[in-house]
Symmetry: C2
Subunit: 181 residues, 2 copies
């Protein structure tokens, strides 16, 4: 088994939402500033594989007008319940998520970037499959929307690796999961 880590790298509002009810992400613009990539280049450096849920994938396609830029940077897996042929470097995966992670970890490679959404995060967390959490807290209350953490029966201890604040008001929290002995 290789030591390829699964890293959740995602933004949430202070009240814990990753998107509004209608999948709007325009509120993220409050932290957009030239020269600030909030560690994205580092994610591209450390990861070679990208996992995302089909709903988030569809939102990205809507924003870009059909392009999926991550496909040029990573080996991409879109988790879906449908059967869709793989295309342009994107694998549409409708199998068991744990099996996929185990399969990826059995091969040599860099770390695995998980971009959400909340359904994928829940499935991964319920099986203790996320090793690191890099969460960018955006200075806004959305009030309602899609919660990053939908809830789980598991309690998980974390170790803070770093916390960094930016001039835009974004605070990035970086934790690793503590493996229960």
């Amino acid at each position: 088994m290789q030591n390829r880590k699964v890293v959740l790298y995602i933004s949430m509002s202070l009240d814990g939402f990753i998107a509004t009810k209608d999948d709007d992400l325009s509120w993220l613009s409050v932290v957009e500033k030239e020269g600030l990539d909030y560690g994205y280049a580092n994610m591209m450096e450390r990861c070679d594989t990208y996992i995302v849920g089909s709903r988030t994938y569809t939102v990205v396609l809507g924003l870009t007008g059909g392009d999926f830029p991550q496909a040029n940077m990573f080996d991409c897996y879109v988790i879906t319940q449908k059967e869709i042929p793989s295309t342009n470097g994107i694998t549409f995966y409708n199998g068991d998520l744990k099996t996929l992670i185990q399969s990826l970890r059995s091969k040599n490679g860099k770390d695995i970037y998980c971009d959400g959404g909340s359904q994928i995060v829940k499935l991964l967390m319920d099986d203790n499959l996320i090793d690191e959490y890099i969460i960018s807290v955006i200075p806004i209350f959305l009030g309602e929307g899609i919660r990053l953490f939908k809830g789980s029966s598991l309690q998980t201890s974390l170790k803070l690796l770093n916390s960094e604040k930016f001039e835009t008001g974004l605070v990035q929290l970086h934790y690793e999961r503590i493996i229960n002995q």
Copy 2:
């Protein structure tokens, strides 16, 4: 109108809970360390008034064996739906929360410390009555419990005033509400 600010000063797990389902707070012990008060002394200095919901009040009484230490430090208001005579420096208030805040702000005094719980936070947020948020993020996923932010129809912009990380893994986020023009 005096410029007395309402300050929410509270801890939450990274997944946004302030207590487990059965009001357990023992998970907060992971950040207890001698010499670290996470700004509590500063809250005692800047505030002279304390507001808390009746459920949180009851939890504190259970932890202390019937004592309510805040009553020795602040002018205390316990928000309740019952009619309870005031006692030992604690006012049991069953009126409208907005009226209470307006009444406090009309008098001279220091800032107002809100200690939760989530029902009081929601009522205050729905009327834009919280001026500052000091949130200590505890390095743990509780998975389930009582959410700090129950949801609201309001979207609120925040300004990050500070973010501080501690050796225990606690990160304290400090925001002020941006007043819409």
